[in-house]
Symmetry: D2
Subunit: 305 residues, 4 copies
């Protein structure tokens, strides 16, 4: 048995140095955070491993957008699965809008009158819908024939005027999936076109062919989840078709396992399903994604290459 | 200000009687549970109100299936939105499979060998996929032309041999939506057909027309959420198009608001978005759905009609 | 393996009937709530078993006072351990004050001006301190010689003018412990006397003799925890001295285990410490105490005698 | 309104540099963590401010001991309040024992046989009790006359052979309070002496004089809580007697507010009680203490002096 070493702080310590101290504790939040960095490093630097990144929660309104783009552009991940909300926030910023620092105790009726939509303590200006409607309306003829959601999203990425998660995926040929895209501001904008009598070809089940193909042909696979929801579950489902199941797993969530939902389920549960290899390296980290993500990726930046 | 009355228990008290005692406390979990019953009763008995039910989490493996079917057959709800997992569990049971009582401390590798998939402390036999594959394969020609997910699900409901959530929705003409249906066992079975070269017409954005139409034409709307995820978010999105936004809201979740995700967001946040009317009656109940749902619906059974 | 049975609701079902349906599900929150009732019933009706009740959290401001008094008067428990806050709230009500229904979104500065202290969404009138100061001042000569906290509390119970948790313990000769009594409104009132130069004999470690004596001589022991904190930990500590450790355990909490604190620790952890017998019947129920307590005690009322 | 800036990571970034990036997001976990650092810095460098540090949870088994000792030796805090468990773990390490890296999935019966007590995923060797018994037995004549718990603890600190939290408090004349000291391994060792017929003078209410005296005479006060429980509540209680209430507040916890207990209560609730000044700078950070503490103190190390 290894003893728990006590963290020793130094002045002007760098992030990776602190993570290495945390690794020496080996337990609880600090130990798990360090283990998450170790496992991410292992899967990203394993040439045989396809890395699947699941993103849910307010990552863009929470200031994580550059970190995500950076990870995609560095080719640390091979597949991205996310929510419609994340892509809506991403597209909004690509069109020139911003999110704002607010308060969870705000007067929501007042905010509504002023045109701000609250996401816990950040605000999205409601005007973003106007810009997005113009954008979708103007480009509808181009996107309407996309048969899979991934092709639809890549096209949006190609069309966005600025750097974005969508554009980074398109430019780096990283497949990006969003099974519930209709459940989002982007979805609403498409509905606006349908309401005018236009049509769009995008099929519900089409993307399964591509994500499962990546899984099926992977020598090894690794999963990194920030938040749960559909992104986690959709990747977990694909892991059942990886010949050896996932070999690496990192999950960062604030949801708890006892209610039994997929979002809070511990990764080890996946072993019973054949989603996770019994010999996989994995860790469940109970932490706000906006705290864990910068620390993990900052330490990785120092460690990789 | 009203004083907090202390609950007085009696022998052989009925559930609604206990809820009424809880209502007299007026605070914390007990007070909120009672308020949830009051608000559900108000929206269900309000002739002008369309009731939207969002269902996420392990409700079928958790023993809630009959309660949900009963609520649909009683026409207490006008729209159901749920997850692919819930429908997979529901279809599995309709095809004759069961879920089993297990343990969260089980050996997952052992379970995998024995063919049981763990959902916290309940187990699903992996064989369910065989039955489901046969079912989908046999009926593929019938379902492959369904353009919306709702039509696809109603057709499944029509085809299921036994009582089920799907069948209850079909028979009672309750629209049932599942934006992320591809993220589920049912989705995997459809992929199996696609992998054989077959095609299915189901469109991603198509259902938006129907759910928004119900919202748009509703004099009033009420929302009931057990769990968060896409079901909650998809209904919340529709509420933006109800002329007066939602007039009633009940949310039951174990997720917390501070990480900022949609699942844990307090209902009042929806006021800023125009999803909830500032004068709405609403309550956030922090409780395991399998505890709250039987109590709420049992009390409603005594109160309604 | 037992299948998960689905709960069937009936009109005018009584609480114990619903709990029995929950028992048939056998899993998740509902299954655990039913198991909690079963285990409480078993330990209370086991003649050889000493039952230790740990109470933390806002049980009195949350409307649970009558239920607790009823359990004590029914002699369902042999030892009570609680917090100074609970006893302060209890004494306040015994002196004629009430708690009030409020809002978690209240303006706290405004409440302060109006003289109300907020406990999430219930309010305590600050005036309670005046009545308590008079009460302590008037009776100081009687209580100042009490060497143990238990004797101090029994004396308070004897002196309270009305029915209370304190009085019920005194009258039924149920030892009541509160190791951190100085951390409470009652503590502050005693400080007021010390500040005037008076003295009080109460010793910090004295009660250990009595609680450990009960533990040491118990043929069997059972523990019931609503909330964690010192009440749980102090009882757990005593369990180490029960010859067979605890044979029954029920814990109701909203705290999570992963941060590693005693309050959220799963009961099974106690096996490693010799606090819980490896063959004990026990359950961890993740639920708001104000929801679980009325249901558990209501079902017990029907089952016992 | 300020926009949410997106965090930009650099290679070999230092911890304070990352915290400053988090500060620019201004929202959610990252923004709150940065705000916690800012407020700690402000209160520690405010010459008029007395800083009260509350410590609960598995900080010593979690590897935080050196950080805490460092903060005390740097005189960043003026008062420490903690749990008996923390002091037991601290004394155990001072006597030469260690905590060990373990697993939350361990076989607790096996651990019990091997003599290891589990604290989530760290282990304490049960032998620590033997060393502690010798230590207390040998020194009982010296400690038995200590009338207040603080004097008792300072004496323990003086007697410990090695660097420890207790010794750091004693040597730096930082008052350390532990109202529930009887609820701990140290308490059990004292009980061992009482069981032999020895006596100890320590009084329950005695320390209130000293902590309230510090509060009463403070020009300003600041509070820092890692975890809740008695340490937080005891400091909060003292804040009612600071003439201007607390001017600064930082709380790090994983407990949630809705169940209404003191541990999870948001700091703003304290405004209603007169514990927190309505103009105070304060933040509630929802984070595992073993993650937040190293980051906060590492950034402070770079900022202060």
């Amino acid at each position: 048995m290894k003893p728990v070493a006590h963290i020793k702080l130094k002045k002007a310590m760098n992030v990776n140095g602190l993570v290495e101290q945390m690794n020496l504790t080996g337990v609880l939040g600090a130990g798990r955070l360090a283990k998450a960095v170790n496992i991410c490093e292992a899967m990203i630097t394993d040439k045989d491993c396809k890395v699947f990144l699941g993103l849910a929660g307010p990552l863009v309104p929470g200031g994580m957008r550059e970190i995500i783009i950076d990870a995609i552009e560095s080719k640390w991940v091979d597949v991205v699965v996310t929510t419609g909300a994340t892509l809506t926030h991403d597209l909004g910023e690509a069109l020139g809008y911003r999110h704002y620092q607010g308060s969870a105790d705000a007067d929501d009726e007042e905010l509504h009158k002023k045109g701000f939509d609250r996401i816990y303590e950040s605000y999205m200006p409601n005007k973003v819908y106007e810009g997005m409607e113009d954008f979708i309306n103007k480009n509808f003829e181009i996107i309407k024939d996309k048969k899979s959601i991934k092709e639809f999203l890549w096209e949006l990425g190609k069309l966005t005027p600025k750097k974005s998660i969508l554009k980074a995926c398109f430019e780096n040929k990283i497949p990006i999936f969003c099974p519930a895209i209709s459940d989002s501001g982007i979805g609403l904008m498409i509905w606006g076109q349908l309401a005018k009598g236009r049509n769009i070809e995008t099929r519900t089940f089409e993307d399964l062919k591509e994500i499962i193909d990546v899984a099926w042909t992977a020598k090894k696979a690794g999963v990194i989840y920030f938040g749960g929801g559909v992104p986690k579950n959709y990747i977990q489902q694909a892991m059942q078709l990886v010949p050896k199941s996932a070999s690496y797993g990192v999950q960062v969530t604030m949801d708890r396992p006892e209610p039994g939902g997929s979002s809070g389920a511990e990764l080890k549960e996946g072993i019973s399903w054949g989603k996770l290899n019994p010999k996989a390296k994995f860790v469940d980290l109970i932490c706000d994604a906006t705290i864990a993500m910068p620390i993990i990726f900052c330490a990785l930046k120092e460690r990789i290459k």
